[in-house]
Subunit: 270 residues, 4 copies
């Protein structure tokens, strides 16, 4: 089995400092959180930027600052979100692709996201994918439903998305697919042979789905974007605390944790 | 095993007479198609209205005319769509509920629908459901993805949707869940015990998924809304031709076909 | 999708003329039944021999007579059973392999078979497989449980069984795996890519599982060994009547039926 | 979710002291190992007796001594094996039932077990079940294949086995069902609502399947009968070491571990 890639999703677009006092918001905070996660075993960060007021922004300059400040500390893989917040326009959302990061997320369809709608029309998916292809950015295909995998497979047949594909199953969002083990297994059994995958479980699904990924040969995303607790009723002290636990359990289960360069090899990053 | 309920989806919102010359469009044509399907074994019709130009409309008066003209011919169950076309507003879409039909569809989430987005926010689902509850209209819960079942289950726990629930799995829409047998089985295994279900397969998925429903104890939706062919390369001559085939195969497999009143008993309609 | 291979299991080891008056028993009767099934669309026969009293026998000479008499009528693929009856010794069971048929069954494990035990130890599986390999007989890997597939995969890794493998899932035997659609799907999802498979459903499972095979790209086994009824309460008039129905339904579902030579190409027979 | 029942399978019938130097063999050693496992979090022991030479025995007196010596130390649930070793006769195997333990295993079918055959005919299953029913011993239904669940369900319908049933899925035995996560999930999804279950994974499957049970609401069996390693290449120092790890991981995942009396309540023991 390949070594485990742990992705730290440090900030997200929805969590607030009121909910999670240790949430990194500024480029300096995010870069420092990235570094702590790197030390704890993460080989990739999934990044959402925030503006000076702490609100979600897809601003190119802010992502650039985060990217550079992180790179100054360690060689962790920088993966910006192109999802942004549900109210961002496609044009806003696309900005961090222009940083030419090694990876960026590409959401593969539209679904309800609690009381909002996360919009990703076919046309926009194509536009995002084409631009990533032009720049050589490998997409992490975010799938909130099984039909989004089907869309990815269909687009791969047309060459819009390159193979081997890397998926991120985001499970447990109210309005999209649940986060039971059988849900994860169904997703895993639906992707083409040769693909790689990560799972992001929302809230109480984060820990069990991360552990299931260890067993199944997938990879794990943990961090405050998806879950702010260490355990029931206990707010996590840092993103790194969550990363550390997954790294420890993975080793306990006999699976080594990948360094950033090992993750690059597994994912075929340039 | 319960008898098989065959629902005829006669018209839909997207098919044109250019594509399918035998498509019923006017209230008279729809009522006559309903009657022919009834004779062929259908116990329910799923109805989309069209205006004088043949364009989709959710107009109360047109649905009323279809309902009355159909009722004059036979006692088939009348189930109007509240989905309408992807560009209709929620207010437009809700109109046929006011006819107080025995059933009406209730789409349980948002997804891409080819190049369009089929919007059903949480708030609107609640509004539709509440109005159906007030009038005693039983919803057919249209699920295009597995997460929509999860939403239904969540809303049932809150009492927004009444149990036992009746689901319609719409599979094979580009942008939502595929139409393989394993997709259907996954949906079926995801609904609460005591629920009933129908499957609507789009295009080439219609026939195999209808037959799978016969085996699995579910129910079958067939008709031009989902598929215009009788077999590959051969346009169907009528909705009734499609109904007839399902009724024949069901009997061949040892499962009787329900009359409208038997369908009412199976679905617990008032 | 490949064309459908229909295998007729004409006689079996357990059915009696009292249960099924049209059961072929003598070599002449079996050859004639094979020919009628060939005309109805079968491209293979699965053969159990009977002695002069109608009891199961694995006698070389009787199989030889059946093989020759069938070959005189048509080019249908002759596949003798090496399972025999549950009380036959391994040595008895192996005899028809010496006829050097194109295929022969190879049962991949031990399980209860109603009140009997169907014994296939690891050692005997290896002995049977080795002899088939020596003679160039392609095994049809009979799996009554999922673990038998796992055994086949394990033996294939050691080269004891050659790939691509052809499986026969025998479902619905009391004491082994049931015959629900989900059981079949689980088996299908457990075999290596590139394998081919047939399903044999016992009793009331025969028809639905045969039809599921048509949908899923597998192949279908029908005949009196597995089921003696045409429909509930109605004894079938001949094996060919069962074959005919599967051929008809397959064509109706848009899948052509293979001739013996087309079946040979699909299965890679010499 | 119910608390986790950890069953320690201390000795088994096949492991030798050469393979695992810390294997408990005598009644004193087994009772002491049971006590250490109890302290580590186990609420049940699954017991195989050995004779003075360390060979498997189903002797009543030896089981009696183990039962009494264990009871003198703690209130852990005593569950003797009625499987014994593959060469024991049914009469030998049944002896520990006469001790009237709270539970005893009941193997639900026949399968290959590496180079041996583990024989459990329908007739013998009925005999074992009937005697357990007479004495009020709750069976732990050992299932090595999915078809064995089907047999249990069939026998439950006839009243031979009482409901709610408790299953033990033994996965990863060469010759029976494998030990992948999907295998476990398939088993879990095949038992009647209201049943409880434990999983025993053989060798390298022990740890991941135990953890999966924690997630899925099942229960976990660990110990030397199924696996002698703590991790790859490292022999475990005691059964208790394996129990301790499962207890720790379960708490880490937010699931409490059951005491013997809590386990009795969950299993409905008298
Ligand atoms: Mg969706
Ligand atoms: Mg077996
Ligand atoms: Zn994100
Ligand atoms: Zn519709
Ligand atoms: Zn046979
Ligand atoms: Zn045991």
């Amino acid at each position: 089995m390949e070594k485990l890639i742990i992705t730290a999703c440090l900030t997200g677009a929805e969590v607030t400092r009121e909910q999670q006092p240790n949430l990194p918001l500024t480029p300096d905070e995010i870069a420092e959180a990235a570094y702590q996660c790197y030390l704890a075993g993460a080989s990739m960060i999934h990044v959402h930027a925030r503006d000076a007021e702490g609100n979600p922004t897809q601003d190119y300059a802010v992502y650039k600052e985060i990217k550079e400040k992180t790179a100054a500390k360690c060689n962790i893989i920088f993966q910006p979100s192109t999802g942004g917040a549900t109210w961002h326009t496609p044009e806003q959302r696309m900005q961090p692709i222009e940083l030419n990061p090694e990876m960026a997320t590409l959401s593969m369809g539209t679904c309800n996201f609690a009381d909002d709608v996360f919009m990703n029309t076919e046309a926009n998916i194509r536009i995002f994918a084409n631009r990533m292809n032009e720049l050589g950015v490998k997409p992490e295909l975010e799938c909130f439903e099984k039909g989004m995998i089907d869309t990815a497979v269909r687009m791969a047949k047309k060459g819009i998305i390159k193979s081997p594909m890397h998926f991120d199953f985001v499970l447990g969002v109210p309005g999209a697919m649940g986060g039971e083990l059988r849900d994860l297994l169904y997703m895993v059994e639906s992707i083409p042979a040769g693909s790689t995958w990560t799972v992001a479980g929302v809230g109480r699904y984060q820990l069990p789905l991360n552990i299931a990924a260890i067993m199944l040969g997938g990879h794990a995303r943990t961090g405050f974007e998806d879950n702010i607790y260490y355990k029931k009723g206990e707010i996590a002290t840092s993103n790194a605390q969550l990363v550390e636990r997954i790294a420890r359990i993975s080793k306990e289960m006999g699976r080594e944790v990948a360094t950033p360069d090992e993750a690059r090899a597994i994912l075929g990053l340039k």
